[in-house]
C-alpha cells in the first residue's frame, strides 16, 4: 500500500518539477488510465498543469471514475480545478473548486477546496465548503489514510455512501456536525468521535426500520474494517419519530439516552447492547437483532421500567393498534423483562404496584392490578401473586381477586383456585395452565365453576329486559386452542321456574371485531306465564320445553341455529299473544271476519304450541307441530272457541322476523302487509 502511495507522490513530485522547470506559458497534460491509492482508485485521469501568470500553477485534475470503497463511492466523476502556490514558509497552497458527479447524496456537487501541504510539518490540511456545509480534514503526509475530520452542517445524505458500507438503509434528511478521527483502509473505515445530528431521517429498503426529525448528540465509533461491521453509540436524542418493525416511537422533547453496540452483516443488524432511558416513560437494557428483511430475530429486554400512559403514548400505541387494541387507556407503572426470538416467546416477567387498563370499546378493563407474573419457557420460576380490585369483561363487572402463579417447564399455572365475585355470585377458576409460547394449539386449559350468578344483574348488564334467576354450572375443561375457547360441560340457568342449560360452548376471538359464540341450549319446563310477562309478548300460561341447537352468534347476533320449542301441556293464551304468534308464521294480525271474531275473546285455551326455526344465512325455515303441504300448525287449540294458528310461510327473512318481534314485544302493533 505504502509503496503505491509513495509511487504516486513521486509521480506528483515529478509533475510539479516538470511544471516548475519548463519555460513559462507552457502547459503539460498528463493522462493515466488508472491511479491507485490505499482506499482510493482513480480511472481515466487527466491532469493539466499550467502557469497562472502570477507565480503559481494552474491545476486541473479530472477523473471519470473515482472509487472510494470505504466511503461507498463508486464511479464518481471528479473535477478539481485551482491554483497552486508556494508561500514564504515553503508550504504548498491550493485554492480551487471541486465538483463531483454521482456521489451518494449528491455530495460535493460544487464545493470550494483549500489545501495546504506543509512538508516540514508533515501535514496536509484540506478545507472543503459548499453552502453552509463545511468539512475540514488534517492528515499526516506520510500516513494519508489517517485523518482528523471536522464537519459542520454537513447534509446527512452526503454520508449515504459511508452508511451503505455498513447498513442497507439510507439517510434521508438532516445535518451533521462532527469531530472525528478517521482511518481509511482498503476494506473499510474506522472512525470515532463526537457528533451532533439535527432533524435527521433515515430509511431502509423494506421501510420497516426508519426514522425522521431526530435530533441527537453523542459519541460514535464505527469500524467497518472487520466483518461484521461494528458501531458503538452513546447518544442523547430529542424529538422525532422512530419506526422499528411493529414499534413506532414518538420521542419526547426532553433527552432520551440511547447507548448501543451494533454489528451489521449483509443487511442484518444485531444490537448486542441496547440501553434506552426515557426517564418518565421507558427504560430498559437489552439486545435486539433484525435479519436482512427487517424482521425481529431476537429481542431481550431486562430491567424494563415503564410508566404509563407516557410509555403507551410514546412507544406502545402503534403496536397495540396493529394487534387490534385501539386507544387503550392505561395508567400506572410496570417493571419487567422480556425475551423472545424468531421461534417465539422465551420468557417474560412483570411486576406492578398499581396498573389500570381499559380498552376503548369497553370489552375489557382492569382496575388496581398489583403483583406480577414470572414465566419462562424452560425450568422453574418463583411463585408470584397477582391481585386486582376490579375486572370488567364486556358489561360484566367482576370483583376483586387474588391469584398465585408459578411457571414450570413453560406452563404458567394457578397455584390456588381463584374466586372471582361476578354479578352477586362467584366464578371459581381452578387448574389453570397457560402456555404463553404456544402460538398455535393448546394455549390455555382451566376449569371453571359458576355459582349463584344473578340473572337479574346479568340481564341488566346485557341491556335486556330484567328477569329473575340464577346461573350456575361447571365447565370442567376450558381450552384455548388457536384463537378459540372450547368449553366442556355446561351452564345451567334457573329461570322462569325452569331450567335453561347451555352446553358445547365455544368462543372465538372474544375481543376481536367478529367474536363467534356457538353453543347448544336446552330449555326445560319454563313457565311461559313468567316469560311472557317479562318480554311483554301478551300472556301465555303453561310450560315450555325446547332446544336451540348449533346456535352460532357472531358479534352477539344469531346467524345460525336449529330451534325447536314446544309447549305441550296446554294452557291459555291471550289475544295479544295470538297476534304475536302469527308473526312467526310470516303473517300479520288476523283481519276481516276472523279478526272480528277473535276480538270478542280475551283468552283462548290451547292444547299445544310448537314452533321450529332453522336459521341459515339470514333465512329461517319455519315449522310447527306438524307440517304439510299447506303449512304448519303453530298452535292447536282446545275448548271453545277452538283456535288453530297455521303458518304458511316456510321461508322467513330473519331480520324481518326480528324487527317484527321487536315491534310486537315493545307493544306497538305489528305492521300489516
Amino acid at each position: 500500500m505504502r509503496r503505491t502511495s509513495s509511487h504516486l507522490l513521486l509521480r506528483f513530485g515529478i509533475l510539479l518539477w516538470v511544471g516548475l522547470v519548463l519555460p513559462a506559458r507552457a502547459e503539460i497534460a498528463l493522462g493515466a488510465k488508472t491511479v491507485s491509492l490505499p482506499g482510493l482508485k482513480l480511472q481515466e485521469v487527466q491532469a493539466l498543469v499550467g502557469e497562472d501568470g502570477e507565480g503559481g500553477l494552474k491545476l486541473k485534475l479530472r477523473a471519470a471514475k473515482v472509487d472510494v470503497p470505504s466511503m461507498g463511492w463508486r464511479r464518481v466523476a471528479a473535477d478539481l480545478q485551482g491554483t497552486l502556490q508556494r508561500d514564504a514558509h515553503m508550504r504548498w497552497l491550493f485554492n480551487g473548486t471541486m465538483q463531483l458527479v454521482g456521489a451518494p447524496g449528491a455530495a460535493l456537487s460544487n464545493a470550494k477546496v483549500a489545501m495546504v501541504v506543509d512538508e516540514a510539518a508533515n501535514t496536509l490540511e484540506v478545507d472543503i465548503s459548499q453552502a453552509a456545509a463545511q468539512a475540514s480534514m488534517a492528515l499526516p503526509l506520510d500516513q494519508p489514510t489517517h485523518a482528523q475530520i471536522s464537519l459542520k452542517g454537513l447534509p446527512a445524505a452526503w454520508l449515504q455512501g459511508l452508511l451503505s458500507t455498513i447498513w442497507s438503509g439510507r439517510a434521508t434528511a438532516g445535518k451533521l456536525d462532527a469531530d472525528m478521527a478517521l482511518d481509511l483502509a482498503n476494506k473499510g473505515v474506522q472512525a470515532s468521535g463526537q457528533f451532533a445530528l439535527s432533524a435527521a431521517g433515515f430509511d431502509t429498503a423494506s421501510g420497516t426500520v426508519a426514522g425522521q426529525g431526530i435530533n441527537g448528540n453523542g459519541r460514535l465509533n464505527i469500524d467497518t474494517t472487520s466483518t461484521p461491521s461494528r458501531i458503538d453509540l452513546d447518544a442523547s436524542m430529542r424529538g422525532g419519530e422512530l419506526l422499528l418493525g411493529p414499534i413506532f416511537a414518538r420521542l419526547p422533547d426532553h433527552p432520551v439516552q440511547v447507548s448501543l453496540t451494533a454489528t451489521t452483516h449483509n443487511g442484518a443488524v444485531d444490537f448486542t447492547r441496547l440501553r434506552v432511558a426515557d426517564a418518565d416513560a421507558l427504560q430498559f437494557d437489552g439486545v435486539l437483532a433484525f435479519n436482512a428483511k427487517g424482521e425481529v430475530q431476537k429481542l431481550k429486554l431486562d430491567k424494563l421500567q415503564a410508566r404509563f400512559p407516557a410509555a403507551y403514548q410514546r412507544y406502545g400505541q402503534a403496536w397495540l393498534t396493529t394487534l387490534g387494541m385501539r386507544d387503550v387507556r392505561i395508567d400506572g407503572q410496570l417493571a419487567g423483562s422480556l425475551d423472545l426470538d424468531a421461534s417465539g416467546l422465551r420468557s417474560f416477567a412483570f411486576d406492578t404496584d398499581g396498573l389500570e387498563l381499559a380498552d376503548s370499546e369497553g370489552r375489557l378493563s382492569i382496575k388496581g392490578l398489583r403483583g406480577g407474573i414470572d414465566w419462562a419457557a424452560d425450568g422453574e420460576r418463583p411463585t408470584t401473586t397477582l391481585n386486582w380490585q376490579g375486572l370488567q369483561v364486556y358489561r360484566m363487572v367482576n370483583g376483586p381477586a387474588q391469584s398465585r402463579w408459578q411457571s414450570r417447564a413453560g406452563a404458567l399455572s394457578l397455584q390456588r383456585a381463584l374466586e372471582v365475585p361476578v354479578l352477586n355470585g362467584k366464578v371459581r377458576v381452578s387448574d389453570l395452565e397457560w402456555r404463553p409460547a404456544a402460538a398455535k394449539g393448546r394455549r390455555l386449559e382451566t376449569s371453571l365453576t359458576f355459582a349463584g350468578i344473578d340473572m337479574a344483574a346479568f340481564s341488566r348488564a346485557m341491556g335486556w329486559r330484567e328477569f329473575q334467576g340464577t346461573l350456575g354450572g361447571a365447565i370442567p375443561g376450558l381450552r384455548w386452542v388457536d384463537d378459540r375457547f372450547e368449553m366442556e360441560g355446561g351452564l345451567t340457568i334457573n329461570a322462569f321456574d325452569g331450567f335453561v342449560s347451555v352446553t358445547r360452548m365455544s368462543l372465538q376471538g372474544p375481543f376481536g371485531p367478529s367474536p363467534v359464540l356457538s353453543a347448544n341450549i336446552q330449555l326445560r319446563q319454563l313457565d311461559m306465564a313468567l316469560m311472557t310477562s317479562v318480554f311483554d309478548f301478551g300472556s301465555i300460561t303453561g310450560r315450555m320445553d325446547g332446544s336451540i341447537d348449533e346456535l352460532r352468534l357472531v358479534n352477539w347476533n344469531p346467524v345460525a341455529f336449529k330451534a325447536n320449542l314446544l309447549a305441550g301441556s296446554g294452557g291459555r293464551i291471550s289475544q295479544r299473544a295470538v297476534n304475536n304468534l302469527t308473526t312467526f308464521g310470516g303473517g300479520g294480525v288476523a283481519s276481516g271476519l276472523q279478526g272480528a271474531v277473535l276480538k270478542l275473546f280475551k283468552t283462548f285455551g290451547y292444547k299445544r304450541i310448537g314452533l321450529s326455526c332453522v336459521l341459515q344465512g339470514s333465512v329461517c325455515r319455519m315449522g310447527g307441530l306438524d307440517n304439510d303441504a299447506d303449512g304448519y300448525t303453530i298452535l292447536e287449540g282446545s275448548g271453545l272457541p277452538h283456535l288453530r294458528i297455521v303458518g304458511h310461510q316456510t321461508q322467513v327473512d330473519w331480520p324481518t322476523l326480528v324487527s317484527r318481534l321487536k315491534a310486537a314485544t315493545e307493544g306497538t302493533p305489528p305492521e300489516v302487509r
Binding site: 431521517g201 430509511d203 431502509t204 429498503a205 423494506s206 421501510g207 420497516t208 426508519a210 426514522g211 425522521q212 419519530e241 419506526l243 411493529p246 413506532f248 402503534a318 393498534t321 396493529t322 394487534l323 387490534g324 385501539r326 376471538g509 376481536g512 371485531p513 367478529s514 363467534v516 352460532r552 357472531v554 358479534n555 347476533n557 346467524v559 345460525a560 341459515q616 344465512g617 339470514s618 330473519w654 331480520p655
Partner: protein
C-alpha cells in the same frame, strides 16, 4: 358366491367414493359469482350494497371424475338434496362488508394505488412497500392492514359457515383470493402463486 361378494364390494366401494365426491363438491362457479358480487361492491364506491340475491347453482363440470359422473346418473337425488349454492349475505358478512367498503374508500384505495399495499395470494392484503409511505403513516397502515385481514379472515369463515360447510373455508378463501386479484385495478400489486409481487 364369490362373484356376488366382489360385486357387492365393488358397489360399496363405488358408493363410498361417490359419497365422498358429492360431499366435498364445492360450487366453484357459484362461489366465484358470489365473491365477484361482494368484491365488486367493496371496490366500487358508487355501487349499491349487494342486493339480497343468492346466486344460481352452477355446477362446475370440468373436474369431474368418470366415477362421479356415473354416480351423477345413478343418484341424482343426492345432488338435488345438496344443491350447490353459495350464500354470502348474512348480518355478519354485511357488517364485515360495510367495514371493508368504508376502509377501502378511506384508506386502502390510495394505498393500493400507490403500490404500498397489495393483494396476497391467500386472499389477504399485505404491506408491499412501506418505503413509499411517509414514516408517520406506516404504523397506521400496518394497523389498517391488520384490521382488513381480521375482517377478511372472518369473512371467509362466515361465508363457509353460512353455507353450512365450515370445511369450505379454504376453498372460499382461494376463490376470493383469485377474484380479488382479477378485479384489482390496473397498477395495483398482487402476489402470484409463488408469492412474488406483480403489478397488474
Amino acid at each position: 358366491m364369490r362373484k356376488l361378494v366382489y360385486g357387492l364390494l365393488t358397489t360399496l366401494l363405488v358408493a363410498l367414493v361417490g359419497c365422498v365426491t358429492i360431499n366435498v363438491y364445492f360450487p366453484e362457479a357459484a362461489a366465484q359469482k358470489a365473491a365477484d358480487q361482494f368484491i365488486g361492491t367493496v371496490l366500487d364506491s358508487n355501487a349499491p350494497a349487494p342486493a339480497p340475491a343468492s346466486t344460481s347453482p352452477q355446477p362446475a363440470r370440468n373436474d369431474h371424475q368418470p366415477a362421479a359422473m356415473l354416480l351423477d346418473l345413478l343418484i341424482p337425488a343426492a345432488y338435488a338434496a345438496d344443491t350447490p349454492n353459495i350464500r354470502i349475505e348474512t348480518a355478519t358478512t354485511e357488517a364485515i362488508h360495510d367495514r371493508m367498503r368504508q376502509r377501502f374508500r378511506e384508506t386502502l384505495s390510495p394505498l393500493l394505488n400507490s403500490g404500498a399495499v397489495g393483494f396476497t395470494k391467500d386472499g389477504l392484503v399485505a404491506v408491499r412497500d412501506a418505503a413509499k409511505l411517509p414514516l408517520d403513516q406506516r404504523a397506521a397502515v400496518n394497523a389498517t392492514v391488520a384490521d382488513e385481514n381480521r375482517d377478511r379472515n372472518a369473512l371467509y369463515r362466515e361465508v363457509a359457515n353460512a353455507n353450512n360447510h365450515p370445511e369450505w373455508e379454504a376453498q372460499i378463501r382461494a376463490t376470493f383470493a383469485k377474484r380479488w386479484i382479477e378485479r384489482a385495478r390496473a397498477g395495483w400489486y398482487y402476489q402470484d402463486a409463488s408469492g412474488a409481487w406483480k403489478q397488474k
